[in-house]
Symmetry: C4
Subunit: 365 residues, 4 copies
């Protein structure tokens, strides 16, 4: 896991190249943790295939000498509608862990979503991100601990709370179970547990993480409990893991924002792909809340299609991790830079100069 020197990044012309570099930098334990999807990985594959199938209908003879990819999410200006999705344990990818990711997000004018299960304390990440971060929460059975985490996130400068709603249980990433994924001894999850607590998790079978998670997370939380959650934090709340018009409507009714996601194909296999779910969700939300999306975004045209169909921003999960594994902070920067460049060019070639120009008419599903 020696970090690659930035020089290697010159051989990366797209995110597939960065994925290759990132995979090569990881050992099996880490690679399987990042790469695997649930069960037969149908949804993992469909997330990308659904984007590829959609056809663009580009417009011509527009003055595209100046293309502005800038947008904002919940009032935070972004250089482009591309953020970083939460993922656990960046320390598996690089010694700088979440600090590197946060610095890259700040440098690129993006936003990082910090996972509850980071290897770096919230405060450290908050200092690096300088306001360009959201905090992802798994609601813990220990509500006092949950509240303290929320307080820390707010104090550290998080701009929003991303509340994950699709993981009362962890999906079965069979590769992880087969090879008994475990967090290496030098890493911990300082937001929620000491290293000693982690070491006590029984691993008679399957993945250490799955067993640990099973005990930690609250499975009772419902729409009615959202009022309680809102009372714990002044941050806007985003519900991450929405895949239906019905739930998107409920989210908007409860004053929450909507993050379309199937958890990168890691939870419920054969769940609908994020991109296929987006149109009915955009219809249901009808402008009441902001909509985000993750899952399968690897090309600038994917970003464009998602935004055209109603997403305010897309978020990178594995793509950011491949960059991080390849070259730390610079690798994540390069990931964001390549995708933003592709997105800007795609806008120009579609005859769009501002985010507002991206409308459903650009896409034939």
């Amino acid at each position: 896991m020696t970090p690659r020197t930035p020089a290697d990044l010159n051989t990366a012309f797209n995110l597939a190249d960065l994925e290759r570099l990132g995979r090569a930098a990881l050992d099996r334990n880490a690679l399987e943790y990042y790469a695997s999807g649930a069960n037969d990985e149908h949804t993992l594959r469909e997330n990308r295939a659904a984007f590829s199938r959609a056809r663009l209908r580009p417009r011509v003879l527009v003055d595209v000498s100046s293309v502005n990819t800038g947008t904002s999410v919940l009032g935070l200006p972004l250089s482009s509608p591309i953020g970083i999705a939460p993922s656990a344990f960046h320390g598996l990818a690089h010694a700088d862990a979440e600090r590197a990711t946060a610095r890259a997000a700040y440098t690129r004018g993006s936003v990082m979503t910090l996972s509850t299960f980071s290897n770096t304390p919230i405060e450290t990440v908050g200092a690096e991100a300088q306001g360009r971060f959201w905090f992802q929460l798994y609601l813990l059975r220990d509500r006092a601990l949950s509240r303290s985490i929320l307080d820390r996130a707010h104090a550290a400068g998080a701009r929003a709370l991303v509340f994950t709603v699709d993981a009362p249980f962890l999906g079965r990433r069979e590769a992880n179970e087969r090879h008994r994924f475990a967090l290496p001894a030098h890493l911990s999850a300082p937001n929620v547990a000491s290293r000693d607590e982690l070491a006590q998790v029984e691993t008679d079978s399957g993945s250490q993480l799955a067993n640990y998670f099973q005990n930690l997370v609250d499975k009772t939380f419902t729409w009615r409990d959202l009022d309680w959650l809102r009372g714990q934090t002044p941050l806007p709340i985003i519900l991450k893991g929405i895949l239906t018009a019905e739930d998107a409507h409920l989210a908007a009714e409860h004053g929450c924002h909507v993050w379309v996601s199937n958890h990168g194909g890691r939870q419920l296999d054969t769940a609908i792909s994020s991109f296929e779910a987006l149109p009915e969700i955009a219809d249901a939300v009808a402008g009441r809340s902001e909509i985000y999306l993750d899952g399968g975004v690897t090309r600038g045209t994917d970003v464009l299609k998602a935004v055209a169909l109603g997403a305010r921003a897309v978020f990178l999960g594995r793509a950011a991790l491949w960059g991080l594994a390849a070259a730390g902070e610079h690798g994540v920067e390069r990931t964001l830079e390549l995708l933003e460049d592709e997105f800007r060019l795609a806008m120009a070639l579609c005859g769009a100069t501002r985010i507002e120009d991206l409308t459903p008419a650009l896409v034939r599903l």
Copy 2:
């Protein structure tokens, strides 16, 4: 065919793993008998592909701390809507034959459907199943023999009669014909014939079984004869092999339950897959009868999709046999356990805590 020790089961994380173990434990004669479908095996493949294509629309923010997979079939409580379909000759897979399968069904709170063509007498199986079994009938040309079999099944504790209606003739499993499938000398079909009778079957060409079956089974039976059948047994009657709304309606009109099946792709090749046939059948039955389904079920999400679209339970054919071949009784138990665990997790990740929560809105076809 030395049975594998239960230790091997620890390497099985899903039904595909068990299939691998089971196949490895079988000789060619037995493997081809279990594995083959009719002709070009289009329907065999489509049974599974149809499930994979269907997309789930999971709901979130439901209290899933307690998920109850329990249901009942014809009043018999089941730990989950997963039973064992009838298949002939379990002795090909394991020395304990149908006794092992029956014990596993009992242990797991499931239900086994015993084939007319078992290698174990009805009474022996009935004793092991302790009420957790149904009896599958091929109506024989010898009606007196048919009646005696029905009487024995009832006396042995069978809870229902599963009347197979899709096999007046056997489909052509060409691998079996090519290699002249024959029942090994140490096995018999004690419910219908002595070993001597079996030995007398001519096998000049093709499969011994097909020739034998050809002479044994009644091909004249029609809807009008159902009244006669009902007079022979007090058991509820399930018609197994229904693939159309028309026949499902007739079944309900005749007071029978409906088992959607294409015989595991072994009868009429290019027949519609069970899962694709289910929606029109659920519409036609309209709650008048119970509906079951077999064909292609290998994942918990398959179970969930079938139940969501109207099946009261699904039944495992080959999947149970791979478990039986891999490790006898424990192998079948493990098959049921793995699938039930996957189904429970799929329910939780769909926001469903009871069987009643599984509705068509969860599935996008």
Copy 3:
């Protein structure tokens, strides 16, 4: 090209097996002539794929103890709705050439369509077929020769005239052109030309046949000329090569029968598959004429699907030639027998006992 002994046929369990045997018996010149389709062979492949995609909806609980596959075409009783399509040069496959094919058709109660370009004189074939043959006509620019051929066909006992309408020019079977297909010196086309005439065909480039055909065939013939043709022969006229509702309607208006065909994918590549064209043609004909179909039939379920959707009979092109190449007369018999057996079983498993029971409700497209 030593004919295989009939013993080999015991290893053939389906038409794919016979194809394997037949291909092995042919040299490249003959194999490419039979096997090739036009250009990229899209239509050649689609002819078969279209059948495979169609799903059957079998009915159950019908008395199928007696299944009658018998039907008739233009009053000629057939043991099943399976005939032999015209194809040129059976002498490439077997020394007995069209005599073998005719004898097999007679023996099996089928009907053979004799090609204008046979290697055997009409009269010889007529004697072997004993009334079980139709004659296929390419209208020649030499109308006197055409008339004399028609007279000979009628005198030889042909029951119908199959007038090929899709080949004013030959399609480009590129394999034939690449390797300069030529009729071997020991074969001739006695119905239309002497061996000397054939030998004079220039073959500077491409296929000898294509060059020859180019000069021989009348390209001016239109719907208006059908009256002339009807005046030349008392035989009923079947138009072979219809692929649209529009032309099927015109055929019926002109008192002709309709043979749905794309010439086995040998003429216009990417032309619609025969099976996909059938429904609109059956609608357009609306019972006024008989409808036949060739193209891609290799399974009994293919026969059933075509008949269910409106074909009175299907015809075998390459399939018969593989049988002929494999074992002469017995090979063709075996082809017909295997397919008829499959068709009978498919009927029984669909709950159909007579041809009249085969209706569109059995097929989901």
Copy 4:
């Protein structure tokens, strides 16, 4: 890059054969420049796949003894509706460069579209084409230079101005960037720059061409500027790169003709294929302008389908270059000849004798 002798062309029976010969004659720099599409090359593949998927519905019993493939574009008679699309740098393929292409277009009664980025001056090409050429314009930021190019094109005998509207920026052909495509030292772009100017282009990263193009081309041009352009030249204006009904309507409103194109899949990846875009464009134009199409045409049936759905002519990009690379002028002639022959045969086999007979009823999408 030794040009092949015309003898080699005898082994080419279709455009795929010519492609093989042409590819073999090129070095990597040139091959990647011609062959590559943007990014993942989805659109590059779809251009061809969309043609293959469309099914033909051929008509029969038409007098096809005389088939006339002749048509005209903007009043210029063509032997068939097949022209040559603009592509840069024919000198990469053959020492005779655009002179060879122009001579072939003239000889075959076709029309060549000369690229702004030719390796041969406009006047030289004009002399060879003898009126059978159109001129393709990239509008340059240097409007004086643009005007001078337009004047030269008109003076050289160009019959129309093909104004490329889909390339304000170059798409990312990643193979070119990866291997740093550069124009060899012996070639220049005499219409727009001296060799010295080209040599000064920085190539720190990526493709020399992309960097050069970036600075040269005007990105501000809009529909409103078309009036200015019309004032600069008496030639009819064709807008090349239209993919939507909306833009096709605008083109017709502005008195321009419409060239349906996605730049051979080289600009915006996952843009709709040309053939799939054609129907809505033909509807929108409604006869007000002529419609042309490029992208994926490799078979006579492709030409026929495009014309049937509303294209007045199709244009060959890579296909002409493969012929040029294979054998210079004769190679391009052979490309045009093979495709015209296939198109004529396809017309005959569809029952069409004149271009006017090609209507949408011939195609099932």
